[in-house]
Symmetry: C2
Subunit: 104 residues, 2 copies
DNA sequence: CCCCTTTATCGTAAAAATACGATGATAAAC
DNA sequence: GTTTATCATCGTATTTTTACGATAAAGGGG
């Protein structure tokens, strides 16, 4: 008995799928600005990010979740606040993948 | 008289906006597969790409347009077909940007 | 000229992403 | 215990993306 494949498979490796998810996460101006801000301001709080973005708090929180799900950032609860920072390992992995992408 | 700014500006530089558009273009499995295929098979035709993707021809053509608009690929008409290839300058630029991204 | 091949575009239906106010949840301050 | 501060999640409206069939456009082949 063969294992059933999904009807529409894009035939990407696990690494490629993860890379695609990261690309998608970074493919929105708000999230690009968030990672740029986190790069310049390591260890900052949700409210700080809300202050620099022209978006409501709920929307920023949603964008942060997308970046978290992509593994690009991690947030640790600090009392009543949440401290966010770039996941340096994930960022390093992302850069490596891009370097080797397109036959690099 | 001040120049009117858009109501919601994400305060990204032109380069960052271009980078974001490229990320978005690569943030879909079909398009990631297309660039991977083009990387392995330079100079191929639309039909070749249609053959390797689980999508209709119209949909693939649409995805190709997204990659063209992002500047990642370029297509030249060859008789009744269109020959696609990666834009190596754009790809190089993309890699450089990612290398220096996140304080690289 | 009439087909055939190849591809882009159009129109549109369905799905996903985006944005916001309202609400809840948790911890600190008083 | 009450209040305040901070943040995530819920519900939902709007917009965008995705996908497909149908159609048009354009270059050979007969």
């Amino acid at each position: 008995m063969e294992t059933q494949q999904p009807v529409k498979s894009y035939d990407l490796s696990a690494a490629e799928e993860r890379l695609t998810q990261m690309m998608k996460a970074l493919g929105h101006p708000a999230r690009m600005q968030i990672v740029r801000y986190l790069s310049a301001n390591p260890q900052c709080i949700t409210g700080d990010i809300v202050d620099v973005l022209p978006l409501a708090q709920a929307t920023v929180s949603q964008h942060l979740k997308v970046l978290r799900d992509a593994g690009l950032i991690c947030g640790t609860v600090e009392g009543t606040a949440t401290c966010y920072c770039l996941d340096i390992d994930a960022v390093a992995w992302f850069r490596e993948q891009v370097s080797s992408l397109f036959g690099g």
